[in-house]
Symmetry: C2
DNA sequence: GAGGATACCGTCTAATCTGGATGATGCAAA
DNA sequence: TTTGCATCATCCAGATTAGACGGTATCCTC
């Protein structure tokens, strides 16, 4: 992720990476900011990033891909992942262990609705100018949010239909 | 998760928890086995679990919910989560950063297909006897797997349609 | 009934990651 | 000038991960 972000940015400080990540890839793959710092350092030590540091003031470190870094990134991209990841939804966990459907569904609906709205706005405003991979990832996010809305929506409505 | 699993089992050793988790909740929320041991220990120390240990041989520890543990679990269930979790799909990450669509989609399709088949089999064979929450969670998993199949299926087919 | 294969089970370690605090720098407005 | 806010880097304790390791029970074979 760090290599990929730096490729997109050309060169960047860890702080900038964190900013960029927060509004893009961070929606489905997160890293703590502290980890971005240590990871950049490690990658530099491994020769995959070049590091340039301000001598004064903030002493920011600016990183860029080295030839080895670009190769590593390409190699990673060229090896299609077979793992599928986890859903890891706290709400689903509560449902699994017997939480009441109605209030849970309402709470989840609210957040998912907001998230979806944000994605769709981004897609409408920036969709056409995004690199294809990023646009597709965004569309995947939108599709899954819609799925969540369907799912929790059904649960929230259940009681109304069942009660009478 | 540990409290919930122990409630379902009545009482259990960490090893058993790991087994049960692996085939159920573990599909969307994982924990390393080492962590299940330390977590059980911590919960016991906090008074939420009772601990009974074999004096000889394997010296297994068997845990059960205490009154405080049941209360804590109930409290957790009664506080609907508002967070929505992450998708965290390695394949999506590669797509985001510009990996080639075709081979990636094929690789992902294969795993997702197998996962979905497993879920559906489970649903067909055990669906009616599962507690409602567990069945619903399984159905959520199935729905999302279907979504992934749609998504990667479109990508795998893209080139065929676009090439000529 | 000895020996070995295999499954069962718990513990350990190093490396990494998390959440959040801390504190410093730079910039702009009052 | 000072005050406030955004920017930025580092640090820490505790939690988590991956996987090795070692011991215990069971069962099979000769």
């Amino acid at each position: 992720m760090v290599l990929g972000l730096i490729e997109l940015a050309g060169s960047a400080t860890p702080y900038q990476l964190k900013q960029v990540a927060a509004q893009s890839v961070g929606n489905f793959w997160t890293m703590q900011h502290a980890q971005i710092y240590t990871e950049s350092e490690r990658l530099a030590k491994a020769g995959l990033l070049s590091e340039e540091r301000e001598e004064t003031g903030r002493r920011r470190r600016t990183y860029a891909l080295t030839e080895a870094g670009r190769k590593e990134l390409d190699a990673w991209r060229a090896t299609p992942a077979t793992e599928i990841g986890e859903l890891r939804s706290p709400g689903l966990l509560q449902l699994f262990f017997g939480a009441e459907k109605e209030p849970l569904a309402r709470a989840q609906l609210e957040t998912h609705t907001r998230t979806l709205a944000g994605y769709e706005e981004l897609h409408a405003s920036a969709g056409q100018w995004l690199p294809e991979g990023q646009r597709l990832a965004l569309e995947a996010g939108i599709a899954h949010e819609r799925e969540w809305l369907r799912f929790w929506g059904d649960l929230a409505g259940d009681d109304d239909r069942a009660a009478p």
